[in-house]
Symmetry: C2
Subunit: 333 residues, 2 copies
């Protein structure tokens, strides 16, 4: 990992951890009429804090920064290419960067809350029945099933609360757009829908097309939404928007392919969760469908698609998004 | 029930049922990239359609209509009391009524989706373990626990999707405000928080104060939010807003007191769910705490508080909200 990517990630992770620690807390509800019950909040914090790669928040923040870096000169309409306008554009970009910062941090945390809640529910006995997550007992093991259920539910609601702060610098139109993107990605035509297909497909022989559709919803939708929420924070122009959409789709799928590869090649300790679960539960995976080598080649080709999409954005600086695409494909857990 | 309240309710119920039928469907996701999986949607529709009193949607719609009826003359600032301004005010009110209509119907359905998802999760074996709801097998009995869990999760997401339509007549500021109200009422400092307190208090002796706090979150928050979302759709002025807030708090609490009364006085058939569960599970209730007669008197006093709050709104026509308050206290199921 190049040094500047590493320090960018370290800096952003610190911001995200601090923000999550602040927003997922009883204190955060102090301005509300009612405080959140302490026990429920403990389970919510256990599910969210001190764990996870925070890939989705990093994607939100990186996409926002990339859009804020502005469009390359060749991508600007000709009439805007004189020096005076370029200068004014640059000043506008700085102001926009500040204004989008608060939105991006909230969006980053909101998408992580949705991810965290989905893991809590997914680990429950009636779903994957997993007892280990990120090297710790899962929420239902630690707090009981009922609390795990409620903590997941409350985390989802909190995600939308984070996106709609009162008396905020974030324009209402942006708040509404972020809610829309997140709700769609989390719901029946996104993550929850993908999990339902996953559930229904245990023991079945899926085609590659069906497997891709399942993963596009189950994991891909939220990863892609992370990119698009970041783009929305910085108000990407249509060309950049469309290319980032393709980038998000490619890394969303790549993430799952690599997940399937790691499930057979890594051990539980490295993985931080129980390895070999998919094969044991007779779940269809890219590895079971195409074999290990072909799955690896597929991950590489999705990686190349993601990089091409970044080149197509016309944005000045997409290096962080590029680095995150590398991370998704080269990760070991 | 007076004839005009009855026909108002019948008309609104028909609108809400039609809207829910349309929005909780695979077709509704046709404009999205991905369709919702058919199985998941079946469980979601089972949980939402053809059942329930729809009290929360009715409160949203009634509050919106009441605010749109305008302020009484004595409540208008003196400088606005000449005839010309009153006339213009009336025209403005008609336009506002049309513009708020779409928002109120979406808000009505969104709040019902949150209510429906909470029942699905609440009925699950790790929570109340109930097999009967509205005279039908509960969702997890019908579709299995994993599907019930996912259907609940997807219903919550869909609620926020409904509130944030793209290219809509609903102003973004209103969309964001509705999301904020709903997210707070559903989350850790609202419904989910109240359920967590409920869970933790089984077998405990609560004070009346603690019991009230639990119910204010568990049931009250969402009922009150229904009223406030309706008020937000029609952009209530501060005076009306504050009084409607008190109305919402009073009927929210009254609803739960009556629920506790019905749990011991009604049979399962009338109730449409298993009666006597609270006593059996040794849950604290208003009846167990204060006795049946005092609980009844308390419900009546909350009813009176609700009516007083309506009188304080200064709104021209609050008859429907009044009728709904009567319904809450006089209901038999």
């Amino acid at each position: 990992m190049p040094l500047d990517l590493k320090s960018w990630i370290a800096h952003q992770l610190e911001r995200v951890e601090r923000a999550l620690d602040q927003w997922v807390s009883v204190d955060a509800s102090a301005d509300l009429e009612h405080h959140a019950p302490v026990d429920l909040m403990a389970a919510m914090r256990y599910a969210v804090l001190d764990g996870g790669k925070r890939l989705r928040p990093l994607l939100v923040l990186a996409a926002c920064e990339a859009v804020n870096s502005g469009l390359k000169h060749d991508y600007l309409p000709i009439e805007e290419c004189d020096d005076e306008l370029a200068r004014r554009g640059a000043i506008g970009a700085v102001t926009a960067a500040r204004a989008s910062d608060e939105a991006a941090l909230r969006a980053a945390c909101a998408v992580e809350l949705i991810h965290a809640y989905s893991l809590v529910h997914d680990d429950m006995p009636c779903m994957d029945n997993d007892v280990l997550r990120r090297g710790k007992p899962t929420v239902h093991v630690q707090f009981g099933q009922a609390s795990a259920l409620l903590a997941g539910d409350a985390l989802q609601a909190l995600a939308f609360e984070l996106l709609t702060p009162e008396r905020s610098v974030i324009e209402p139109v942006k708040q509404a757009r972020l809610c829309r993107l997140l709700a769609r990605a989390a719901g029946c035509a996104g993550m929850a829908g993908g999990q339902a297909i996953d559930l229904a497909s245990v023991g079945l022989q899926l085609t590659e097309e069906q497997l891709r559709e399942m993963h596009r919803l189950k994991t891909g939708a939220l990863l892609q939404a992370s990119v698009m929420m970041g783009a929305a924070c910085a108000e990407a122009v249509p060309l950049a928007h469309a290319a980032l959409h393709r980038y998000g789709a490619a890394i969303g799928l790549a993430f799952q392919v690599v997940d399937d590869i790691l499930d057979v090649t890594a051990d539980s300790c490295t993985l931080g969760k129980t390895a070999g679960k998919d094969a044991e539960q007779d779940k269809p995976t890219y590895v079971s469908l195409m074999g290990l080598d072909a799955a690896r080649a597929y991950a590489q080709s999705l990686h190349a698609q993601a990089l091409q999409a970044l080149a197509d954005t016309g944005l000045v600086d997409t290096r962080i998004l590029q680095g995150l695409a590398d991370m998704v494909v080269q990760r070991s857990n």
